[in-house]
Symmetry: C2
Subunit: 336 residues, 2 copies
């Protein structure tokens, strides 16, 4: 069984969302310059946008042809990185998120039982995000909540508790995904100058969030919480686990709700998608990093379709581990 845990539906143009918006928002969009959260880091058909031979994922037919049938994938999780977190009007953000989710249900999940999807939420106002999760969280096609990894405060911050509370009510995974437009700098040293700094540096934001969720006690407060890290790389994880476990020994009186070393929360409750792999030039080093993860249950196969990655699992990976990464880990984690 192969589960592709990260394929990207093309951001829908606003016309595609109009049927899922109320009369009020339809009129608002028709009579103003606002045309939805249209900003994207992926220019149409640029080399970084499309892998060779790939088509933009604009419809369920493309998903069937290029992913499910084309790659013998049994189940795929559709992520639509619709940038509602960049919308500062909270009601607009909530309306657009709901429209995207209803579009996902009607045009992806209902026609194709091999697809699953992530719930888009207005993260700036956690109470509205929770309401959206409550509205559609029991639809069997939704397996997780989509939070852009960039945020105004680290997600362990208590202001975000309503989102985690709602995810718990519907037994949904919380996923942190590449990107976001919260308005604050994407580094711990202010604004960088170049996109390569934003892209490469996204791995540091993932590290910040992993640490925050653990030490704020999110996993202690929500015993059923599972967190997926999507498209953030994973070869940085061993070093982070070593550092945080060591420093936690000296500083844990600050965070007494943690009942086990930080790496134990990671191994039990967090999973990471395979791409981008940030693979080393020597395949041997990649196997060493996989060994240093301390578990063969952490990685979830993902193609990141239609984006391009040329790295692959090492040829000499044990067959049992390969099976876990390709499908078993995801099936257990998402309860598919």
């Amino acid at each position: 069984m192969i589960v592709d845990c990260d394929i990207h539906a093309a951001t829908p143009p606003v016309d595609a969302l109009l049927p899922y918006l109320s009369d009020h928002w339809q009129e608002y969009i028709r009579t103003s310059a606002f045309k939805g959260a249209v900003d994207t880091a992926y220019p149409p058909r640029a080399p970084t946008t499309l892998a060779p031979g790939a088509e933009p994922l604009t419809s369920v037919d493309v998903a069937r042809t290029h992913v499910l049938d084309g790659r013998d994938v049994d189940l795929a999780i559709v992520n639509c990185n619709y940038g509602v977190d960049g919308l500062h009007n909270p009601d607009t953000a909530a309306a657009m998120a709901a429209a995207v989710n209803d579009w996902l249900i009607a045009e992806w999940l209902e026609p194709e039982p091999r697809l699953r999807a992530s719930i888009v939420v207005p993260t700036r106002v956690p109470e509205l995000a929770a309401a959206e999760i409550d509205r559609i969280g029991d639809h069997p096609g939704f397996v997780q909540v989509l939070l852009p990894v960039r945020s105004e405060a680290p997600y362990g911050n208590r202001r975000y508790v309503p989102i985690f509370d709602a995810a718990a009510r519907h037994d949904l995974v919380v996923s942190l995904q590449f990107g976001g437009a919260p308005g604050n700098p994407p580094t711990g040293a202010g604004w960088p100058s170049y996109y390569i700094e934003e892209y490469v540096g996204m791995a540091q934001v993932f590290q910040t969030q992993v640490l925050s969720l653990i030490v704020e006690g999110s996993f202690d407060r929500f015993p059923g919480l599972r967190v997926a890290l999507v498209e953030g790389g994973w070869t940085w994880l061993p070093s982070l686990m070593w550092r945080i476990d060591k420093d936690w020994k000296g500083l844990r009186r600050e965070v007494p709700w943690n009942t086990q070393p930080p790496s134990a929360y990671i191994r039990e409750r967090m999973r990471l998608t395979l791409q981008p792999m940030d693979a080393p030039p020597k395949a041997g080093h990649l196997l060493q990093v996989m060994d240093a993860l301390g578990s063969d249950e952490l990685l979830l196969y993902s193609s990141d379709y239609p984006h391009f990655h040329d790295s692959q699992l090492p040829d000499d990976l044990p067959e049992a581990t390969r099976r876990k990464i390709l499908g078993d880990n995801a099936r257990r984690f998402y309860r598919l």
Copy 2:
């Protein structure tokens, strides 16, 4: 030959600096609440502040007894993490930095030829920092400029060029060191809640700065530039090199001044102090990470005295590598 590349002089109380301040600043301090940059993350004699048996490094005598003679160290680099970057009055910052540097010359470097030191500079106003480097940069005791790793903008930003220019004029290493108080959040996702997030997360700020210095072209602009990363860990480096090299292939048209892959700049021009080691539970994993660095010339021995670290170099490290780390790498890098 053993070179300890990071020992910490205790932050001097303001009384100790008065002899090195002009009448104006002496009066200013005596008649106001301002008592220098006294904030410190190290409470006196707390377990995190002092290793067992260590004494606070309050004078050159302690350095002799506990480091130079006590540990058979041939040369040691004294870092005084005096927080001038937290002072927003630029003239105050410049005056206090100059006082600390003159205090370092008079009370550490002149009495003890086995010591070297880092120049404290007012980083908020790069032109003033450059002037301070020009004032004392030719003193043979100073081997590097001290920049707190946290900053308002990544250090590759063009606003900081005057500092790098001055370092080049005096052939000084530029060192990025743990800490800083620039006023902006220390993560790419806003303000965290706990000190453990600031401490562990400092490694992510180091990663941000490494990336910035490379892609902004600092090493291309200054062919003699060498950068030391002090007290930031180093087990995160292989993963960062893999990620940035890979993404640079796709994005290098953004930064055409880079003439070689990012990891080549790191291996040629950057060095990292040994502590904190963020060592894995299995010694074998540590040797694997050292191998993945791709060079045995990157690490510089440091005790971080008087702070406490219980990790050591692996017993089965090849003797030639051990010698390089303990002294040869530092001697070549700092031209000692």
